[in-house]
């Protein structure tokens, strides 16, 4: 038996029919075609499935799509600027090569975006704490920390960029 849900994803309201057991990550990927969010473990450890729910990072493998009726989701696809340009954090990831295979990257971007929204000038320790729930097997994290630090510095120089991203966070 399916349920009707109405959920706003990256600023656009979507109506869908979902089976209760369909997780949010599977819904985003398979029904909405937003394949940027990735499945890594399906038991809430790796963080590859991280998205923003009402502006806060969560593990989308630990939530059922049916629960998101009336809520707002931001995925990695929603992190671009309104004009389609790369967000400062995304661009900073490119600048420091904060990724290799790219699989954990959307989750890392979500975690990083959340941190910089709450704390525009984080210490390296705070950065590491913010991404502690996201596993990366490629980079050893250093270049990711570099990217988030760089993004913070760039955002502080451009205050209007603070908290600005495409999507309705």
């Amino acid at each position: 038996m399916t349920h009707s849900i109405s959920v706003t994803v990256n600023g656009a309201t979507r109506q869908a029919e979902v089976e209760p057991r369909q997780t949010l990550v599977d819904f985003l990927r398979e029904q909405l075609g937003l394949t940027g969010t990735h499945v890594g473990c399906e038991h809430g450890v790796c963080g590859a499935c991280s998205v923003l729910l009402d502006g806060e990072p969560i593990r989308s493998c630990l939530m059922f799509a049916v629960q998101t009726d009336g809520h707002e989701i931001t995925t990695v696809e929603g992190l671009r600027e309104e004009d389609g340009a790369l967000g400062i954090l995304q661009d900073s990831f490119w600048e420091t090569h904060a990724l290799q295979c790219g699989y954990c990257t959307p989750g890392m971007l979500i975690a990083g975006q959340d941190l910089l929204t709450r704390n525009p000038n984080p210490s390296d320790e705070e950065i590491r704490e913010a991404i502690a729930g996201n596993l990366c097997r490629c980079t050893g994290y250093l270049q990711i920390v570099d990217a988030i630090r760089l993004a913070g510095a760039r955002m502080r120089q451009a205050p209007e960029a603070l908290g600005t991203e495409a999507g309705d966070v």
């Binding site: 089976e19 057991r21 038991h43 809430g44 806060e56 593990r59 630990l62 059922f64």
Partner: protein
């Protein structure tokens, strides 16, 4: 790892929840944060046929001081509890425990009550509840009943909740007034944020001259459920909490421990480490209480 099929209801009120629980019995299960439940469902270790979503029941969320307790509604997010002034001021041990609970993503959904209802014996929130002697309120269509946490958490992954009940509130006792209070939670886990192998919780209240007049201690990971360290509490109450006294008194918990070996650590490890972690947490809590004294803050955790 797709969950077995189930029916789903989003409850709008507590009555919705209780009504469904009464009607469906053990086929139905409440879902709060889902951080433990959904993972178990993905592995098909849990297979409820009906999920009752309580995340939109306003009556089940919120923090409010009430007399000698802080009452935290069961579906209060861990993040919200961390940010609550009430919690920081009146439940300092819980405030000390929460940063150890999982990660940012899990705390944004995970709830205070959900952690207790799940019954994970390594959970820091359960450790805190036992250390403080918290009480829980269980609601059903037949009314509400209040239980001591030790009567609620009766075994590893086992609570005494009835089929038709929903955990509604957790009452954390406030530290007594007039003392300088410090709280600390320390743990050893494979990684920061992982399930604790050994956890220790300490809440200390000092008089102006540094005498301990309030002490609540708990240890997890060395028994089926977290253990209230009563012998250590008794031995240290009224003392000035010298390091050597703490070290010695910590070992008094050994007869209370019945650890098991698992893939993370042996029973011998747990038996050896538990008193040491307890001593560390106790010293840290004492030092925080002293810091508050020097600042003239009165009470509260760092």
């Amino acid at each position: 790892m797709k969950a077995a099929a189930f029916d789903y209801t989003r409850a709008e009120s507590l009555d919705d929840v209780l009504d469904l629980l009464r009607r469906e019995g053990d086929e139905a299960r409440v879902i709060a944060g889902g951080q433990s439940l959904v993972a178990m469902m993905a592995m098909r270790l849990a297979r409820p046929t009906h999920l009752i979503d309580i995340n939109h029941v306003d009556a089940l969320a919120g923090v409010a001081p009430a007399g000698h307790h802080v009452i935290i509604k069961a579906c209060t997010r861990q993040t919200a509890a961390m940010a609550s002034d009430s919690v920081r001021r009146d439940a300092p041990l819980l405030a000390a425990a929460l940063p150890h609970v999982g990660h940012i993503q899990t705390r944004n959904r995970g709830t205070i009550g959900g952690s207790l209802a799940h019954g994970d014996p390594t959970a820091e929130i359960l450790l805190t509840a036992i250390a403080l002697g918290a009480r829980v309120t269980l609601a059903s269509t037949a009314g509400a009943r209040e239980l001591d946490i030790t009567d609620f958490s009766i075994g590893a992954m086992e609570t005494s909740i009835r089929e038709d009940e929903c955990l509604a509130e957790v009452h954390f006792p406030k530290p007594p007034a007039g003392l300088s209070v410090g709280a600390a939670v320390d743990e050893i886990s494979p990684r920061a944020g992982d399930y604790a192998v050994i956890g220790a919780a300490a809440e200390i209240g000092l008089t102006e001259d540094g005498t301990c007049k309030h002490i609540r201690l708990g240890v997890s990971g060395a028994a089926p459920v977290p253990v209230l360290c009563a012998p250590t509490m008794e031995a240290l109450m009224g003392t000035r909490l010298a390091d050597s006294d703490i070290d010695e008194a910590a070992h008094l918990i050994t007869p209370l421990l019945s650890p098991e070996s698992d893939v993370q650590a042996s029973a011998a490890y747990r038996l050896r480490v538990a008193p040491g972690m307890l001593a560390r947490a106790t010293k840290a809590a004492r030092d925080r209480a002293k810091t508050h004294q020097e600042r003239g803050a009165g009470s509260g955790a760092t």
